[in-house]
């Protein structure tokens, strides 16, 4: 670049870097006036345009630049950003390919071409490019790139199973052709081993592993050692692995649990089918005893510093019992009690650590006599400890006792007394931490959490909401003293949602400072089925905003993650690349992402008036999800394990108990609602597949055999499995939606203007906007705008009963759930009625225009709408008024008194009265706002559609 041009171009880069797209645009135009053919400046202008959302204009420039087949570095990298902004990854790849073709000796271009394929996930081409690069430039790195790309192609879900082995074989051929052996670098060695593992070529892998250098690498590199472990196992070398592990444990004090498991696996490696074979049985006993000695010595040596020894002893006994022997059997015949002795011993050693509970879970499910021995031990311990003497042991005791409770022991009476004891101990225990810093967790927290569990359990048993009042009061009390306790907050979020007080849930959610990837894994706590909590109609956009904010992570994943795959290629960290690709894919195709998107759409329709823009945009977005879902399964990244669970193992978990409406949304829920909305938007829209193809920018999911069935057919197919994820009311809604769509579909299809007309209109609009005609579209000569079809109009049928009776039935349903204590169920019924109303508006949107009705003689059809709408309006207004009425009993002194009084039993009496009053006030006020707001909001929504 000449220095004069450089001086001119520099400010454009600076402006782009600082986000001043406008001034970048001005600077570009200035130069282009004098040098209209300057491709670099054109490319930068295209970038500035994309970043200022002027997509149509940038497209024109973009196509011009691509047609010139640029090879200049600056142009290419600017265009890379432009195309990424437009979602045209395939074009990026093609651009680099063209450039490399033009200058085949330019290594840098070749390199870029490879990496462009990597970014786009085009592993097959990437592999070919890398092979070419290796042939031409003889750099070993390129050979390994081609190996890695072949492996990634094999792993790709779009690759047919029979191709996978072939690709791994190709990878193996390539990697063994390397002039230098793979063990020169740990990551190359890892790649080599992974390929051999996949192909089942264990002997070859073992040869590599047995070499001096192989051993050295595995000793220092955990990733390589992980593959080695797999290979040894697959080869059946359990004994050898056990010996190796034993050496590490004894000589190097290695306490990795994997090594201890290896020793145990070796012990029982040949223990199958022992029945009747006394020699082998006694061999096994002898071996068990030997290992037991080893573990005993470790336990003695480590003392309190490591719990491997005692835990491995438990695991040894558990496995021995599975084979009908016991580690104590040689000493005193058969000794069933050994497992209990070991449990007691473990509790004695580790009981003062929080992890003791989790450690012991696999071993405490005992039968009969053993169970009662264990329980009475714990009960004795529990009564001998107080929060002051040994808080953590007491907590562990309570948790373990609770875990093993039998269904018969979980009665209302028993749970009341549990809740009381936990609360009492909590209130004593929390005194111990009075002087801790605000950033510290209270050691007694788990007792409040346990009490919360008991209260929730009582609620599920009795359906009496007062137990949830107790739960929130105590948990609020606890979290006020232990601000960083996210576990308490997660419980509170769940319970407040059950209580229909979302404002409180949001408060705790925000206090946890969820960010980055947690928006994918944790946002479900707040956003799951949140449309009945959205007050968007009254102008409160809190929930819609939360949805938008949580979706940012998906954009940044699309933008950033491929760059790290590129970095890993550049740094030759092959061990990481497959995981990076999986990570990217799991975020990209996240179930939560699409559930939240749909929930946002549902909320949005209670806020934005149905318009052609909304219809088209939503249709495109939802169809994208739907089509891609056929190529690629969704990944459920939601983290439910972070919510505590100390419920008895014989019953449902806290997660299951506190799920709003008792159901979690999964793929089936997503599919059910997607079909409702895609169908409705499609009816209301003029976009059909051919139009979309022409007008849309960016890559779309490709049709394959799986989704070659026409979209229409796919939208109408519903499976019981999918529908089973819906609540009863959601199911009623979906049935209504289907009936409505079924009824009106023939008329939509008949009236919808043909693609040529739609395209012509789009072309006209684009030209008006940008001054350029729309590329690749021929405008047909139309005769006067009328596009009446030749075929006969479909007959008008009477509206189906599912449609005409829906609103009345839902009003009855509302009356039914209204008497329940929590307003959440009533809110959801009301929300579904509002949703059904908007859906009706959406489905009849096309027939609003008088000219359409006139041209197509749809008078008879349209005449049916009026009574349906009138009926809907009457029902909805009634329900809305009832919601407002319900709100009047909230936020009152009486209500507060009721809540406070229900929290005045047993140990709960010790809680500060004013504190509970405040909790009650906030809870009831929040419900009031919710009910009143939603009721009034519904009236606003229906008022948006006056006729």
């Amino acid at each position: 670049m000449s220095s004069a041009l450089d001086r001119q171009v520099r400010p454009i880069y600076d402006a782009l870097d600082t986000g001043s797209n406008k001034s970048a645009l001005v600077a570009c135009n200035k130069i282009l006036k004098k040098q209209p053919k300057n491709v670099l400046v054109k490319a930068l202008k295209a970038l500035a345009l994309v970043r200022s959302q002027k997509v149509e204009e940038s497209l024109v420039l973009c196509d011009e630049i691509l047609a010139s087949k640029p090879t200049d570095d600056g142009v290419l990298s600017a265009m890379m950003h432009v195309l990424r902004g437009l979602g045209r990854h395939k074009d990026t790849v093609q651009m680099f390919e063209e450039a490399f073709k033009k200058e085949p000796s330019n290594e840098d271009l070749g390199n870029q071409t490879f990496l462009a394929n990597v970014r786009a996930g085009h592993w097959k081409t990437a592999q070919q490019v890398a092979t070419k690069l290796y042939k031409q430039f003889r750099k070993e790195q390129y050979l390994y790139w081609s190996v890695m790309a072949a492996v990634l192609q094999a792993n790709d879900s779009a690759t047919p199973a029979n191709m996978r082995t072939m690709l791994y074989q190709l990878a193996l051929r390539l990697i063994t052709s390397s002039p230098n052996p793979s063990f020169n670098q740990a990551d190359r060695f890892h790649l080599h081993l992974s390929i051999l593992r996949e192909l089942g070529s264990y002997d070859d892998a073992l040869k590599l592993l047995d070499s001096e250098i192989g051993k050295y690498i595995c000793a220092a590199s955990i990733v390589c050692n992980e593959v080695r472990r797999d290979i040894w196992r697959a080869k059946g070398l359990l004994q050898e692995e056990g010996k190796r592990a034993e050496t590490l444990i004894v000589e190097h004090n290695d306490r990795n649990w994997l090594e201890l498991l290896a020793v145990l696996d070796a012990t029982f490696a040949s223990a199958s089918d022992l029945a009747g074979d006394e020699t082998r049985k006694s061999d096994l006993v002898a071996e068990c005893l030997r290992v037991q000695e080893l573990l005993d010595s470790i336990a003695a040596k480590d003392g309190k510093s490591d719990r491997s020894g005692p835990l491995a002893l438990l695991e040894l006994e558990k496995r021995a019992r599975q084979y009908g022997v016991s580690t104590a059997c040689s000493a005193s015949g058969t000794d069933d009690g050994r497992i209990v002795e070991l449990l007691k011993d473990y509790f004695g050693r580790i009981g003062d650590k929080a992890c003791c509970y989790e450690d012991l879970l696999p071993y405490v499910l005992l039968d009969g006599e053993l169970a009662s021995q264990w329980a009475s031990f714990l009960e004795a311990v529990a009564s001998s400890y107080s929060p002051q003497s040994d808080l953590q042991r007491l907590i562990n005791c309570h948790k373990l006792l609770r875990y093993s409770l039998q269904p018969s022991e979980v009665t209302v009476e028993a749970e009341l007394s549990h809740a009381d004891i936990y609360t009492k101990h909590y209130l004593e225990g929390v005194q111990l931490g009075k002087n801790l810093a605000v950033t510290d967790l209270q050691p007694a927290d788990d007792l409040a959490i346990l009490a919360g569990h008991a209260f929730v359990n009582l609620w599920t048993m009795t359906n009496e909401e007062k137990y949830l009042y107790n739960a929130v009061s105590l948990l609020e009390y606890a979290v006020a003293r232990s601000k960083p306790s996210f576990r308490i907050r997660l419980m509170l979020i769940r319970i407040y949602r059950l209580l229909g007080a979302p404002a409180q849930a949001i408060e705790h959610y925000r206090a946890m400072q969820i960010k980055q990837i947690q928006n994918d894994t944790l946002s479900h706590f707040l956003l799951s089925r949140s449309s009945p909590f959205s007050l968007a109609a009254t102008g409160d956009l809190t929930f819609m905003t939360e949805h938008i904010e949580s979706s940012q992570i998906y954009l940044s994943n699309t933008q950033d993650t491929p760059e790290y795959v590129v970095r890993a290629f550049n740094g030759e960290k092959y061990s990481q690349i497959p995981e990076f690709v999986i990570f990217e894919n799991r975020v990209e195709c996240s179930l939560q992402r699409n559930i939240a998107k749909l929930e946002h759409t549902r909320m949005r329709l209670g806020f934005d008036l149905v318009s052609p823009e909304i219809v088209d945009m939503e249709l495109i977005d939802l169809k994208f999800i739907f089509d891609r879902g056929l190529l690629q399964d969704h990944f459920d990244n939601r983290d439910f394990d972070v919510l505590p669970n100390y419920q008895p193992c014989s019953g449902p978990s806290l997660n299951e108990q506190t799920m709003l409406f008792g159901k979690s949304e999964g793929q089936g829920w997503l599919w059910s609602f997607l079909k409702v909305y895609i169908r409705a938007f499609q009816h209301a829209s003029d976009l059909d597949d051919t139009v979309e193809e022409k007008l849309l920018i960016g890559d779309r999911p490709k049709a394959t055999e799986a989704n070659s069935k026409p979209l229409k057919e796919r939208l109408c197919t519903r499976s019981d499995e999918e529908l089973s994820e819906l609540t009863e009311d959601e199911l009623t809604f979906v049935r209504y939606a289907d009936a409505l769509a079924e009824w009106l579909e023939p008329h939509h299809d008949y009236v919808r203007p043909p693609p040529s007309v739609v395209l012509a209109e789009a072309a006209k609009q684009t030209e008006l906007k940008t001054g350029h005609p729309l590329k690749g579209i021929e405008i047909p000569t139309t005769n006067g705008g009328s596009h009446k079809k030749d075929e006969e109009a479909p007959p008008v049928a009477d509206p189906p009963a599912l449609v005409t009776s829906f609103f009345e039935n839902m009003t009855a349903r509302f009356a039914q759930v209204k008497s329940g204590q929590s307003p959440a169920a009533a809110l959801y019924v009301a929300a579904l009625m509002q949703e059904a109303f908007v859906l009706l508006m959406l489905e009849t949107f096309r027939f609003k225009s008088n000219s359409v009705v006139k041209i197509h003689k749809l008078g008879n059809l349209v005449a049916h709408f009026k009574p349906i709408k009138a009926q809907a309006l009457a029902s909805i207004k009634d329900v809305a008024e009832q919601l407002v009425k319900m709100s009047e009993s909230e936020g009152t002194a009486d209500r507060r008194k009721e809540i406070v009084e229900s929290c005045a039993q047993g140990s709960m009496k010790e809680l500060d009265h004013d504190f509970i009053l405040n909790v009650a006030k906030k809870l009831s006020d929040s419900r009031k706002v919710m009910l009143e707001g939603f009721g009034k909001g519904i009236l606003r929504v229906v008022a948006m559609y006056p006729n």
């Binding site: 740990a186 990551d187 220092a220 590199s221 955990i222 990733v223 992980e226 306490r255 990795n256 649990w257 994997l258 201890l260 510093s305 490591d306 719990r307 835990l311 491995a312 650590k353 929080a354 992890c355 989790e358 450690d359 879970l361 696999p362 950033t439 967790l441 601000k483 960083p484 996210f486 946890m512 960010k515 980055q516 990837i517 947690q518 994918d520 894994t521 944790l522 992570i553 940044s556 994943n557 950033d560 993650t561 760059e563 790290y564 970095r567 890993a568 740094g571 960290k573 061990s575 990481q576 995981e579 990076f580 999986i582 990570f583 799991r586 975020v587 990244n637 983290d639 394990d641 972070v642």
Partner: protein, 188 residues
């Protein structure tokens, strides 16, 4: 007693019980991927036998010039965190041991260093127990908090170091490190 294994990109889906803790920052995914794409062997995880994440460490190798030639080349502990429920089990010690071993054997570093808030006495004691000593005090390293209850200690950091096998003369540490003051601009 826990599984010690490498940190994987997909661990970001399950590290919530560690990262929801107030002292542990959740960075953008690129932060973790960046470390994994350069120093995967310095990033590891402790996992409970039931498969829950208990803690993790992220480290890097850095220092000016060629590794072989100078005494500034070292391993650095960027982030180490253990979930509240798994504290006091020596997990941090085990992860540090691994990081030191790799810094020593694979990267041939002279020392390993880390930064810790001057107020975090329990952590400082733990690191001292592992053989680390204060090399210098970095002023206003944690600027974000401002001067709080702990005064300057709140925002200053100790740069703590532990010599590795290539530094048998222990030249990378010094006895009076707590008195050596540098400004945050002077450290990488």
């Amino acid at each position: 007693m826990s599984v010690l294994r490498s940190f994987r990109a997909t661990d970001m889906f399950t590290y919530n019980n560690i990262n929801l803790d107030v002292w542990t920052e959740t960075y953008n995914p690129g932060f973790y991927l960046g470390y994994l794409s350069r120093w995967p062997d310095l990033c590891c995880v402790q996992e409970s036998p039931r498969g829950r994440m208990m803690g993790y460490v992220l480290g890097k190798a850095e220092g000016s010039g060629k590794p072989e030639a100078n005494t500034e080349w070292h391993g650095h502990v960027t982030a180490i965190s253990v979930a509240p429920e798994y504290r006091r089990l020596s997990l941090a010690r085990k992860m540090m041991t691994l990081l030191e071993m790799v810094s020593d054997q694979s990267y041939r570093g002279y020392f390993v260093d880390l930064y810790v808030r001057c107020t975090n006495t329990s952590a400082i004691e733990m690191y001292e127990g592992l053989g680390y000593s204060v090399y210098r005090r970095v002023r206003e390293y944690y600027g974000s908090l401002g001067v709080g209850k702990g005064g300057k200690d709140e925002e200053d950091a100790f740069d703590m170091r532990k010599p590795l096998s290539r530094d048998p003369g222990r030249r990378s540490v010094r006895p009076n490190g707590r008195d050596m003051l540098v400004s945050a601009h002077d450290v990488p």
